[in-house]
């Protein structure tokens, strides 16, 4: 599974990066890298079975009063 994931990452990089460098779209390259990094950061731990903290829980704390009211 982890191998497949890494192959997917390499595939995505090979697919997008050469074009970006050729066209000198540096800003886009940075954005691409950031997203790819987030993608990696979210998916690799899951494949390895590490449970990430869930941001929905944080938002829930803010929204809770509303949902309690409606429940």
């Amino acid at each position: 599974m982890i191998v497949l994931l890494i192959i997917a990452f390499i595939g995505i990089i090979l697919f997008e990066v050469p074009g970006l460098i050729k066209q000198k779209m540096w800003r886009d390259l940075v954005a691409f890298s950031i997203y790819l990094f987030i993608g990696m950061a979210l998916s690799i731990p899951q494949v390895l079975g590490i449970i990430l903290p869930n941001p929905s829980k944080a938002i829930e704390v803010i929204i809770k009063p509303v949902s309690e009211l409606l429940k």
Binding site: A8, L52, S56
Partner: protein, 365 residues
Amino acid sequence: MLEHGKIDSKQAILLMISMILPTAILIVPAITLKYAKQDAWLSLILATLVGLLIAWLVVSLSLRFPGKTIIEYTEEILGRVLGKIVGFLYIYTFMRIGSGVCREFGFFLVTAMMPETPMIVFIIIAIVISAYAVRNGLEVLCRFNQLFIPVTGLLVIAFLLSTTNMKLTRLLPVFDTGLLSIAQGAVSPIAWLGEILTLAMIIPYLTKPKEAYRVAVISVLLSGFILMINTMESLLIFGPDLANHWLYPTYNAVRVVSIANFLERLDAVILMVWILGGFIKIGVFYYAFVLGSAQWMGLKDYRPLVLPAGLIMGASSYFLFGINIVEYYSHLPYHLILPEVVIPLLLLIVALAKGKGKKSEDEAT
């Protein structure tokens, strides 16, 4: 501009319907029936009215800033820092809904049809197909949708066929559950119909942005209507006591239909709408997510972001919503009230107060 394609109003309406309905037909009836029981139809009428309000809000706001999406004009209204924060919230919302749809999509297929298949397989397929559509732009997504939207009509046919199993007395007594329950039942359909918010990302690419009001209103009305049909179908077949015990009442309702022991097993209809619509729905939010991100970061092109964004959505569909369906349902649908209603309303008020944007919609063309 990041997107060069243009779509006409009809395409936009069809896109909006495919964007709201596919997951709504299976999940909304379950939640609405749980609260409102036989008054579910009142909940849905209420929800459609609120949906129209949201549509009006979103369109009025967008038309004040012609040629700009919600990510761009929040900055104009609120200033750079605050605007970026709200913009980010919207990008997150699109991503969150998109990955939520991936999850629902996989969950239904795994629960009802193919229990042995790992869910990730369905999610990957859905994301890969949508990624291809999104990379090719709005226009391709719309055309693709146009080819498949007639399938939604099958839902109406399924309803007509199941009328033989229905008993109208199951709607009585009216108002049994009380106003509070009706309002609670309306929350989920409001959240779904409020997804019309995505139109704020698409209005700049309409050939006639002036028709955006019409697009929004027709989309909400048609979606509300089909949602109503589906809820009624399970309510009139199963009655108020049983209908809310199902996880996917519409699916069970069409399975019960049997005409002369011959015309039966209509579950394929639901499955078709679900799979076809699922791709489009994921595609629209995927598109909004990617385009929004590109605008937020001021890129020249959104395409490089498509594949990494797909990864983020796929991974989030797992980790944002917990491991099982009970947890998933517990996350519904109150999150959406903030980005769908509260923020657009505040934005409109601030825009009016500051006198930002065009005064009259007539100049918006």
